[in-house]
């Protein structure tokens, strides 16, 4: 668990500082986040086919094979924990850096980055542990249940993106001077 949580928290806090700088460009982040959440939220919530941006990189087997267990855990944790370089089917993932950039305070942004990294890394580790327990059961049944679960998560992710889209629309209007 720690191998996933700590690298993820570190990576996300660094990313937070970087995106905090981007957040200084007026209206760029709110408008980009609004467009992103509307497009991907509608696709995921309505069940429309879409391609989520991201990498499909996989950990090379040479990094894992014949390595000590502690090094294997660190390799998996560092690469999968932050969730930035491996395959990710949920568009909500790439909204997170944009939400970080909405913070005006650098300290708050870094704390938020740490919390996001720890939350994602911890949740990812729990998922891996849960999958490991299910590996020995009926493979066909597991495949179907995984597919069903992914469709459900996409639906929930889409609804959350649209919730964020509504909020971002109000926020952007307030930045433009509208009295809400």
């Amino acid at each position: 668990m720690a191998a996933y949580v700590f690298p993820a928290a570190l990576v996300w806090s660094g990313l937070a500082a970087l995106f905090w700088l981007v957040g200084h460009i007026p209206l760029l982040v709110p408008l980009a986040a609004l467009a992103y959440t509307l497009w991907f939220g509608a696709h995921e919530a309505l069940g429309l086919p879409q391609r989520v941006p991201g990498l499909a990189w996989q950990v090379p087997s040479g990094w894992i094979n014949r390595r000590p267990p502690i090094l294997q855990a660190l390799t998996w944790g560092t690469t999968l924990g932050p969730g930035l370089v491996t395959r990710n089917p949920y568009a909500g993932m790439w909204l997170l850096p944009l939400l970080l950039a909405l913070n005006a305070n650098l300290f708050m942004t870094i704390i938020a980055g740490l919390a996001i990294g720890a939350a994602h890394g911890g949740a990812r580790a729990l998922g891996v542990l849960s999958n490991r327990e299910q590996v020995d059961s009926d493979m066909d049944y597991e495949y179907l249940s995984i597919l069903g679960a992914q469709l459900r998560w996409l639906y929930i992710d889409g609804l959350l993106l649209l919730l964020a889209a509504g909020a971002l629309a109000a926020y952007t209007l307030s930045l433009l001077g509208a009295h809400l």
């Binding site: 309505l46 938020a112 939350a119 649209l162 629309a169």
Partner: protein
């Protein structure tokens, strides 16, 4: 039962529109009370947990 109902296209559209409206209304309230920034952080952490846990579905 609930899942089948929620998967129908009109229900999906209704829930999607509701999410937009609820998000808009909640943001107005939070902006008026100056709690918007904190709410964004809490939402971000929740979304990170959801995305991380959701990857359980795609090992």
């Amino acid at each position: 039962m609930l899942e089948v109902w929620a998967s129908q296209r009109p229900v999906r559209a209704l829930l999607a529109a509701s999410s937009l409206v609820v998000g808009f209304a909640m943001a107005i309230l939070l902006l008026r009370q100056s709690h918007f920034a904190l709410a964004v952080v809490i939402f971000s952490v929740g979304l990170a947990v959801l995305v991380g846990t959701g990857k359980l579905a795609t090992p």
